[in-house]
């Protein structure tokens, strides 16, 4: 990973973190008008993985946080408009922030039912294959979601038809209040690759370089026509399942332990050690993030709500 890419990943991780902090404030103050599953702690995995894509590749993100969209380059103000159900977002209030969509960058949207993404990803892979393109599909999902039947059906279909799809599990140790080991029979989700005869690899999801390398390898493989892969990044959900989650199902110690491997300061220190990130750049990134977010909040506040009767639009094309 070159210096420029490292800095870019760091910048997007930071922007995502700051954006989620602001969104949490807005939600707590009753000013956001929306609902959000925060991704704090998982930004390294999300940003670094998406850095391995080409602009014309397809992305199916998961339900956790904003970093996917920040990484892909969707304007922040659009995200905030979607959160608030305002015009000026990507879905005109129809789907909220859980359904950010951006066809220009291959962002296909999100399934409200977990695991709904897997067949969609396979289908996008099918398209690529039939059209003879060299695009790739990246499909994120949680550890808990790996227990949906659609995971199995889609992995198998992609494997038998060698479709260019990279499945990337964000294993953050929890599904709402249920720890992974109580719901999931394998320690590493990537072990499930054996059921489909595809490469499976588990990496430290809080290490952007490890993530980038693994995803890049899988993406290249898919692009060359060699079929799907199943990757897993180990990470941790530092915040609650949603903003406001009482979190009475897990211990403070456990959470605090994981704050010590928060990927943001960790990457910061690493880049500082490598003399890539200076205090000056850091300060600039922080200032830029704040300014971007402020502007976006302003924009979203100034945007109108969709016209009520527009609720009847968009059912059919």
């Amino acid at each position: 990973m070159d210096k420029k890419l490292k800095l870019e990943i760091y910048r997007k991780m930071l922007l995502s973190r700051r954006l989620e902090e602001r969104i949490a404030e807005l939600i707590k103050a009753g000013q956001a008008g929306g609902f959000m599953h925060p991704g704090v702690g998982q930004e390294a995995l999300q940003v670094a993985a998406i850095a391995a894509l080409r602009p014309d590749d397809y992305l199916l993100y998961a339900h956790r946080g904003v970093a996917y969209w920040v990484a892909r380059g969707i304007p922040i103000e659009k995200i905030l408009c979607d959160l608030a159900g305002k015009e000026g977002g990507t879905n005109h209030g129809k789907g909220g922030v859980m359904r950010v969509v951006y066809p220009q960058l291959g962002v296909l949207g999100e399934s409200g039912t977990l695991g709904g993404c897997f067949p969609i990803a396979a289908g996008a892979g099918l398209s690529i294959r039939v059209k003879g393109e060299d695009k790739v599909v990246l499909c994120f999902f949680g550890d808990g979601t790996s227990n949906r039947g659609t995971f199995h059906e889609a992995l198998n279909l992609c494997a038998v038809r060698k479709l260019p799809v990279v499945f990337l599990c964000e294993n953050n140790g929890w599904a709402v209040s249920t720890p992974t080991e109580k719901s999931t029979a394998v320690k590493d989700i990537a072990m499930r690759a054996a059921g489909y005869n595809v490469p499976g690899k588990t990496v430290d999801g809080n290490d952007p370089e490890a993530v980038y390398d693994a995803v890049k390898e899988a993406v290249d493989r898919a692009r060359q026509g060699n079929g799907p892969s199943l990757l897993e990044g180990k990470t941790y959900r530092l915040w609650g399942h949603w903003v406001g989650d009482p979190e009475d199902y897990r211990s403070r110690e456990e959470v605090e332990k994981h704050w010590r491997s928060d990927p943001l300061p960790r990457f910061e220190e690493k880049l500082a050690g490598e003399k890539i990130l200076t205090e000056k750049i850091k300060a600039e990134f922080e200032a830029e993030a704040m300014a971007t977010i402020d502007r976006a909040v302003e924009f979203s506040r100034s945007q109108p709500h969709p016209k009520p009767e527009s609720a009847l639009d968009d059912v059919f094309a």
């Binding site: 129809k94 909220g96 409200g112 227990n147 209040s177 709500h305 009847l312």
Partner: protein, 324 residues
């Protein structure tokens, strides 16, 4: 009489039935450790142990199909889906397994299964806010209940658990916090298949389902102030469906409005309309009015959601129109 919430009433029913019958178990995503994402089952794991109350993987097919298998072999499972919408995710298990296993095997087995389905639009969009009762009312072999108040929530859930058939139990999310009088006593049941007349009246029959009942009652009150006597009927159970009570009412009033949070086309109101056309045509002196979602998915933004959802005002207007 003491007043408790709808959520508390459901919880009480679960506790009483689990105490009464060791074959009753409860499982679903986050029901044990967390007490359910709506906290309806808080504390039950500690009361009944983690063999009888447990958290499951995110595997709706296995949850519902597992419930069928457990019911076939002697348990009375209560399965919680986090959102009623996930019934579609388990479509085969709900419609073809729960609904048809008994029939297809010539009655060899009974399937005493309850699937708890939190329903209703609350700003969470098309896949977490539906009231999908009407889809399943078309499916043979499934019983369906949709309580509108705490007393019915408790009494119907207890009946559902004791019933030897699969029951889809729709608990409306916006009703969880509503309070109402709930009689004590572990054998106070509300029978499946008996509508309630929530308010008596002579001029118009207003059938309202689930969270529409309180709204219908408010509309009826407004109309009463204007001199119209509206009879509000809460079917409570959609399968079996108490057709008699509605038909009798319409024979008296000659007018009918149906208020529901279903999509309009082939919502419950369609069956009511057709049934009346079959059995009470000569008594109908005004057209049917259906207050329902206008055949669009449920949008997320509040202004859009409000536009498509039925509410007190829309119910009031529909009644006014017929009473004019």
């Amino acid at each position: 009489m003491r007043k408790i919430t709808y959520a508390e009433a459901i919880r009480e029913a679960l506790i009483e039935e689990m105490r009464r019958d060791p074959s009753v178990i409860l499982y679903g995503e986050d029901v044990a450790n967390f007490g359910g994402i709506f906290r309806v089952s808080a504390g039950l794991k500690d009361m009944f142990g983690d063999e009888r109350v447990f958290d499951s993987p995110i595997s709706e097919n296995a949850l519902v199909g597992g419930g069928v298998g457990a019911a076939l072999t002697g348990l009375r499972p209560v399965v919680e889906l986090q959102f009623a919408d996930f019934l579609f995710t388990a479509g085969d298990e709900v419609v073809l397994k729960a609904g048809m296993w008994r029939y297809g095997h010539g009655g060899a087995y009974a399937i005493p299964l309850v699937v708890r389905c939190p329903s209703g639009a609350t700003g969470v969009g098309p896949e977490h806010g539906q009231c999908p009762e009407a889809f399943f009312m078309h499916a043979p072999g499934l019983k369906i209940v949709s309580p509108s108040n705490p007393a019915d929530a408790k009494g119907l859930l207890k009946s559902a658990i004791r019933d030897n058939n699969p029951v889809l139990y729709f608990e409306h999310k916006l009703l969880y916090a509503t309070r109402g009088e709930v009689p004590e006593g572990e054998d106070v049941l509300v029978p499946l298949g008996k509508a309630a007349i929530a308010r008596e009246g002579d001029d118009l029959t207003l059938v309202a389902i689930s969270a529409m009942v309180p709204k219908a009652l408010k509309a009826a009150k407004r109309l009463a102030a204007e001199g119209h006597s509206v009879e509000v009927i809460d079917p409570r159970s959609l399968v079996p469906f108490d057709r008699e009570t509605i038909i009798e009412s319409v024979k008296k009033t000659g007018k009918i409005v149906v208020a529901e949070e279903s999509y309009k086309t082939l919502g419950v109101g369609a069956e009511i309309g057709a049934m009346l056309m079959e059995q009470a045509l000569e008594y109908l002196d005004r057209p049917l009015r259906r207050v329902a979602i206008p055949d669009v998915p449920i949008p997320t933004a509040a202004v859009l959601e409000a536009f498509v959802l039925p509410n007190e005002e829309k119910i009031y207007q529909a009644c006014r129109e017929l009473l004019a």
